[in-house]
């Protein structure tokens, strides 16, 4: 097998991640946005 073929085989063995962001982090993302909502008017004014 040539160098390119070896590299391609190596890349194909790359580990796959989950298809979705873990639920806990999704919740954290939106919670962080919600916590900022009370400040939006002041930020817009500034």
């Amino acid at each position: 097998m040539n160098e390119d073929g070896r590299q391609e085989q190596q890349l194909r063995s790359s580990r796959n991640g989950p298809r979705r962001q873990p639920r806990g982090r999704t919740v954290l993302y939106y919670w962080r946005l919600v916590r900022q909502l009370p400040w939006l008017v002041l930020r817009y004014k500034l």
Binding site: Q7, Q10, L11, G17, W39
Partner: protein, 521 residues
């Protein structure tokens, strides 16, 4: 606001029409346009050099980058120089970077990401058909966003809802992936790719908005496509860009005062009338443009009693972007890296982990991600023949836990970064190091003037971007304008230059209205 009083008074009451605080790219852009348009303009910069984060430092025979290591979106820079009646090539030249970067993953697999989107697709397809198809969809969604950014967002004001409506009405769709407007960066990226190695390579872009992949907004995921528009390095080092802008500024009569710290902004009845320097001198002007962090402008330079409580609360609610440290090495011999930028990445998960487990807890990074920048690969003039300059870059909190000080742990952290590179990726540099210095967040604040070492000003989350960032025309102080990374659009070379161009337009708009006898917006 904007009653234009500053422009109705004779010049004899002022030293300059405009004073710019800070000679970063935003300040140089604002100052450059104001001087070109006939305003007497002075820039006061506390450091002994121009450029702020975009600059160079020489240590012996080696020339290092101060912070920024790459230039994207040359069109914006060309547009700036054209706005001053000049050709960019006469003031700064750029060398293309190819490949964009090399990635070394946790299993020590190496692959290089080319500039060509087509070739990148072929590379990703060698990981899996799914990843190859994912790149095709990703590129399609990103292309429309890049077009919108280039033509609309970088140099157009985006401060109010009416600005937003105007941009939406006149610009191409920001992206065909509308779900990215609501989802996180991580969720968006995972909807396109499976390989953790690819995800890790593309996730670095989240830190350019000051957040990890789990917390950055989804549309920021398409920033990783920006480099495929072309990635460049200024010939002669990063300093060549701000020095070129400074040259143009001086040709138009502008003055740059280096080593001149501004300690306060002078006001009279909520109107700025000049600045006070660190040596006590007061310099009067019609307007002041601040190219430093808005938190420093409103929190340190202006009288506290004159900044209303609502504004102080708004500023407090905005978080700074991440800070980082950079290990600067002059090495002899082949540097052993694969490209101008080499990313050592434990995947998207590692980029999240070092944020939540290390950075937010006030700890220096314990590994998982390191970005190596070797500009001498592109511009050999930066180091002696047979030598290279290497920058190793990772996240680092400004405030360390347990009362520790960066000055005390500098050497230890430099060793830790070298240990990580050696143990996890098999890169041995110690025997070839001829110069070493760890630039910390504290040092960035002291020597470059970056507020708490925040590389990109304020974090650019969904609710802290554009019209939710401090306005470029201050709503509190007449004659005060803001530019740089803490206003629209955020951090990064082309956006900072764009912010300066917008600020200059606002100054001139108000000046024209005042001189025509109108009361201003």
């Amino acid at each position: 606001m904007g009653d234009g009083h500053g422009w109705s008074e004779p010049l004899s009451t002022h030293d300059y029409d405009a004073i710019v605080i800070g000679a970063g790219l935003g300040g140089l852009a604002a100052g450059g346009l104001l001087a070109h348009r006939g305003m007497s303009t002075a820039i006061f910069e506390q450091a002994p050099r121009v450029g702020g984060c975009c600059g160079s430092l020489r240590h012996g025979d080696y020339q290092f980058d101060v912070g920024a290591t790459v230039v994207l979106f040359l069109d914006v820079i060309e547009r700036f120089f054209r706005s001053t009646g000049r050709e960019m090539a006469r003031y700064v030249q750029f060398l293309p970077i190819e490949p964009l970067f090399e990635v070394v993953d946790q299993e020590r697999r190496r692959f290089q990401i080319p500039t060509s989107p087509l070739e990148t697709g072929e590379l990703f397809a060698s990981f899996s058909e799914e990843d190859g198809e994912g790149w095709r969809r990703f590129a399609e969604a990103a292309e429309s966003g890049m077009a919108a950014a280039m033509t609309q967002i970088f140099t157009r004001r985006f401060q109010t809802l009416s600005d937003a409506r105007e941009i939406a009405r006149t610009s191409p769709s920001m992206t065909s992936d509308r779900s990215s407007l609501l989802h996180s960066f991580e969720k968006t990226l995972r909807s396109y790719f499976r390989s953790e190695s690819i995800l890790g390579a593309l996730s670095l872009a989240s830190y350019s908005v000051g957040l990890p992949p789990a917390l950055a907004p989804g549309y920021a995921a398409f920033l990783s496509y920006a480099e495929h528009q072309g990635s460049y390095y200024p010939k002669g080092g990063m300093k060549a860009l701000p020095e070129g802008m400074a040259t143009a500024f001086a040709e138009d009569g502008g003055e740059i005062h280096l080593g001149a710290r501004v300690s306060g902004i002078l006001t009279e009845e909520r109107r700025v009338v000049g600045v006070r320097l660190g040596d006590g001198r007061e310099i009067r002007s019609r307007v002041v443009v601040g190219d430093i962090n808005a938190k420093a402008i409103y929190g340190q330079l202006l009288p506290r009693s004159e900044v209303p409580l609502w504004a102080r609360l708004a500023l407090r609610s905005l978080r700074l972007s991440q800070s980082s440290c950079m290990l600067k090495l002059g090495i002899e011999g082949d540097e052993g890296f694969g490209a101008h930028h080499t990313l050592y990445s434990g995947g998207l998960e590692a980029l999240n982990r070092i944020w939540f487990d290390d950075y937010e807890r006030g700890r220096p990074s314990r590994g998982g991600y390191l970005l190596a920048s070797i500009p001498s690969r592109t511009d050999p003039s930066l180091a002696p023949p047979g030598h290279h300059v290497v920058h190793l870059h990772t996240l680092a909190p400004y405030q360390l836990a347990d009362g520790a000080s960066w000055d005390d742990i500098q050497r230890r952290e430099a060793d830790r970064m070298l240990d990580f590179l050696e143990a996890d990726f098999g890169v041995r540099l110690r025997e070839r190091i001829r110069f070493a210095h760890l630039s910390t967040p504290l040092e960035l604040e002291r020597e470059v003037g970056l507020h708490r070492g925040a590389l990109y000003g304020l974090e650019s989350g969904l609710l802290s971007t554009s019209m939710f960032r401090p306005r470029m025309r201050s709503p509190i102080f007449d004659g005060l304008y803001l530019a740089g990374s803490s206003v629209h659009l955020g951090g990064g070379i082309p956006v900072c230059i764009g912010s300066g161009m917008i600020a200059a337009d606002l100054v001139c708009e108000d000046a024209s209205l005042a001189q025509s006898g109108s009361s201003g917006p």
